[in-house]
Amino acid sequence: MTIAHDATRYATAGDYFALMKPRVMSLVVFTALAGWFAAPGANDPVLVFAAVLAIAAGAGAAGALNMWYDADIDAKMSRTRTRPVPSGRVAASEALATGIVVSVLSVVLMALAGGALAAGLLAFTIFFYAVVYTMGLKRRTSQNIVIGGLSGALPPAIAWAAKTGSLGLDPALLVLIIFMWTPAHFWALCLYQRGDYAAAGVPMLPVTHGAAATRTQILIYALLLAPLGLAPVFTGLGGWIYAAVAGLGGLMFVTLAVRVARSRAGDAEGEGGAVYDARAENRPALHLFAFSILYLFALFGALLAEHAFGLHWPVVMGPVVMGRVIS
């Protein structure tokens, strides 16, 4: 869907909110909430709210900095050209100022609510996304989203650190799951939007190495992700509900990735446009992209349900200690 820019419209608070990539923020909030509730300890509602808000604001601030820096390439891509900066509703300098101010406020709030470790991790996450990924990797290497994906993977660990003041095997596993999920998720989208990325000169894998290599890479990451998704069951973090979701979800993820690998998705040149719109041969990639979002929400939703609503029945009892004591 393309929204025509109305030059007479003045910026609203909503435009500034849009700078913070609310869709990305929703996933960050969800995984952070799951990380918080999965961690051992008491759940003070004020601290939960403050910590998750700080993580969401930090992610949003990083998004605003990304929009400031990437305004030139956003203007060339149909998916991003209606964003507040390229459409002219918000000045680039204001996006930069918003990003910096909200970054500082989010880290300060996290230091108050969650302590130094969580605040340091949040600051690192913002820096990694805005500087390492946006300014460093994105325009230089086809591995941009693989390495840059670390910033999107850290929120559950930040929430865990905010609650417990420490880290361990369990939060590391949650980070690893999102880290391994990101390439398959993003490359599935890139396969049917490669025309956009090529036009903007962003070296995404389908642009630099071709669609066939990307389809193979997606399958490799899916095969690594599916068993990794089950790992929290063996530390005791995930119970029966999580095990069922991770097992079935992982199986479905791999099935869809195999379909992508056997398809001709991304072979046609020049496609770009809406996120949920693709021509027939690209449908397997669209299906995997859509399912990958559901998969991650379901995994962390299962964790949240188990730990926040008392539905956690461990599958494996012994190694529970292993996951909790390393701190």
Partner: protein, 44 residues
């Protein structure tokens, strides 16, 4: 500045004021929770 631009600016300022007010309230509540936890720890 046109009247419409001024109205848009006023609306943005109002939202900003509300956001700052909410942040101040949240920092106050977090401080209270942390102080309470500190007092409880000392009393044991």
């Amino acid at each position: 500045m046109t009247p419409e631009a001024e109205r848009a600016r006023n609306r943005r300022n109002l939202m900003l004021a509300l956001a700052i007010g909410a942040l101040v309230l949240l920092v106050f509540l977090v401080t209270i929770v942390k102080m309470k936890a500190g007092v409880m720890e000392r009393s044991f």
